[in-house]
Symmetry: C2
Subunit: 169 residues, 2 copies
């Protein structure tokens, strides 16, 4: 078994024999796998009429539970985009009929963004398709190895969990 990174590591070893590039064996694979996943997710979402950024926002609302309603501020912190970007995203999602803006009764500066019935259907269908795809990608890997992999990745990820707010997918 051989992948992109084996070639990468070989080339660096030849050109930079002074450096021990062994960390790339793990971390370069993480980055490259993530790039492939991004492309695949885009393809899956496209089949369900959603852009990745649309899924991100709708999934955040869906995951928050009834009444599927959050402020733009919370949404932008959860999805790690700027306020200008979130305004633009909500505009387009509202135009598409997937969310609706309501004034916030508790804060006259603010609005609340609520998932529409169609928005919920779309994000539910897209998530199901995503999980199906991801399951097929892991298909060959036995449960014990999946758990080992998840555990090892968690040990790398958890120290990076800063005072950051929320989640994404």
């Amino acid at each position: 078994m051989r992948d992109e990174v084996d070639g990468l590591v070989e080339a660096w070893r030849a050109e930079r024999p002074d450096l021990d590039i062994e960390p790339l064996q793990v971390l370069s694979r993480v980055s490259r796998l993530a790039r492939h996943l991004d492309r695949a997710r885009r393809a899956v979402f496209t089949e369900h009429g959603l852009e990745p950024w649309e899924f991100d926002v709708l999934a955040e609302l869906r995951r928050s539970g009834p009444p599927y309603e959050m402020s733009p501020g919370r949404l932008l912190r959860a999805t790690l985009v700027t306020s200008g970007t979130m305004t633009n995203r909500i505009d387009r999602l509202a135009t598409a009929g997937l969310v609706r803006r309501h004034p916030d009764p508790a804060d006259k500066r603010g609005v609340l963004v609520r998932l529409s019935a169609e928005g919920q259907e779309r994000v539910d269908a897209a998530l199901s398709a995503l999980i199906e795809y991801e399951e097929s990608l892991l298909g060959e890997m036995p449960p014990a190895e999946r758990e080992r992999l998840a555990t090892l990745l968690r040990s790398l990820l958890s120290p990076l969990d800063e005072p950051a707010p929320e989640a994404g997918v």
Copy 2:
């Protein structure tokens, strides 16, 4: 030990009990870890006066070995950007004195992009710093576990290695 994804999985389980979202345990961690890595790499490169995209291009040239020279076409396939983007990148790298364009003696349509001495110094320093950071990130993990992790990731990555051309970082 607990990370972002544990919370994510919990929330989905509550809202979508019909779905088995177990694949997220692995693949969501891959994506989120990659996002953290991107941010950290950006910080490391900034200390060495490089943007991530600058490092991508310069590293590609550096890794190709002497005379550190490639066509724009090969570079754009290697870094997975469009030709317009690569033209723009080479323009800016040339203005910064990190690469130089030369006519290709073997093909009058083409040019060759060559790493300058300063370009090489910069990319070498940035790579050293990157590896140092990545080593610190893996710091706690014993070599045997690193290898297990690399092996598991390779088994996911290698089927995705399509008839794609080259490499990146």
